[in-house]
Amino acid sequence: MTHSAAVAVGAASLTVRAQGDTVVLCFAGRLDVSAAAALWQDTLRAASTAADLRLDLHAVEACDTAGATLLLEAERAFGGTARIDGAEARVAAVLALVRPASVVPARAPRAAVHLPDALRAVGRGVADGVAFMGEVAVALARAPARLRMLRRVDVLRAADEAGVRAIPLVLLLGVLIGLILAFQSLVPMRRFGADIYVANLVALGVVRELGPLLTAMVLAGRSGSAFAAEIGTMKVNQELDALATMGVDAMTMLVLPRLLAATVMMPVLTVLMDFAGLLGMTLVLTGFGVPPVVVLHQVASALVPLDFTGGLFKACVFGVAVAAIGCRAGLATGVGPRAVGQAATSAVVGGIVATIMLDGVLAVLYNRLGW
């Protein structure tokens, strides 16, 4: 008994015939990518239900690797060896070429990630970070003997990029933060007639906390990522290997200039951020009828020199952390086109996380010291 069904597309067609237990797939025309796309589902469905499979290729005019893949996948869906009839020499040659190439290699089982392994990796990362800081300290100690490698032009260029070019952004953010903080505080404090104490609140908040913190965020976003990308690109281009073969210490030539520049420029940027924040606050309070001279008096009475110096010390610590993390991410850059991007991302994320953690540590320390 014979049943048949036909599918035709473009220059190719498939007729499925059932002859007893045998399913016969009769192909005709050109078996190319278009034909394979159109006939794929019907071919595999018919083949998978067959007890015995025969591929009739008498009417096939041409067959490329897509067509051959279709025929071999039909055989795979059938689960055994199909009988192939009527393949002309050219079609048989393509089938012979594709058959060994279509064997799917056994995939090695993927190792599962266990929690202890993940924790170990985190621990290793922290240990590497500590080791890196140790290497930085050694490089710093040896720097006087290697002053030729610590080029002034590199330090100045890093200071220009990390510091001078960040000034407009720092001023803008500072003014906006001062405006927002003052406005948000002013509305509830007015109810209690405490408008004037907004100056105390914002001044303390900006100078002790937000100034250094936001400046560190700016440094991490602008310069931490740039340090990682620069050094990472140098690593990918084997420039670090070239330095090593010249006997030049990458720590001294690449890391120290950036570290010095960030450490020096962070307090400068923080001072600018503080003053911009106070300016923004003054604008809001003036707008609500508080004279600028009263605001100035309130700020002077609220702040003591230790607030400024404490904030600037924080800024130095944050600068070291952000620059070191950026440089470390660059030196740890892997291979491939995504590696530099990943290094830059880890520099920004690491810089921000480290800044906030250090801020917490310093807050506790200041509290203990009674600052």
Binding site: A37, T65, A66, A93, L97, V98, A101, S102, G336, P337
Partner: protein, 253 residues
Amino acid sequence: MTPIIAAAGLRQAFGSRVIFSEVSFTVQPGEVFVILGGSGCGKSVLMRQIIGLLPPVAGTVQVLGQDMYAAATDIRTRIGVMFQAGALFGSMTLLENVMLPLELLSDLPYAARVALARVKLGLVGLAESAEKMPSEISGGMAKRAAIARAMALDPPLLLLDEPSAGLDPITSAGLDRLILDLRDELGITFVVVTHELASILAIADRCLMLDAAAAGVIASGDPRSLAAESTHPTVRAFFHREATARPSRTIGI
């Protein structure tokens, strides 16, 4: 027989610097056609003109019977190109690289795309490396993967830019063998840009030799005949690895 490529009167210049002019040739179906010449003679420029990336200053290029630079031509989807460094997408595995043209330019279902991409990688001997990233493989493997991607849609024409550059002789010979196998078994026509002498003599049915000094074609035909019979000094120097006149150098004291 209708040629696969018909180039007539091609000229390229950048500003006042003429790279080449009056370059005309045809490529017949099923042949391996090599464009050769010394460094800076315009081989890769000519290839970019053929594949539609650099409109010629003058002349025409017809590929598979269509003008390469005519509006609304879809001819670029019917040719495969392997660039010098492979140009594999670094964020994708080799399998995904080969699947990409199938996904973008065919209606094949996912399972069919995977199966076909595996076949292509198998044909170039990279079945075991299908899940690797381009950064994890050697230069020779990257070139083979790029060939697999170029032939994803079974194009009748493959253009290869410096397939042997930077490869060791054994890997290079393997690539030459692959080109001949694909030509013989699948009938693919190849245009190969190279200056690797061993590769040229191994694979080329015909060749076209460009020269920077002449700013155009200085020889064409069977490379073995050119090597044996040409009297052109540059052609002889190229095929017999002879140094041309040494550039003069002045040392001032």
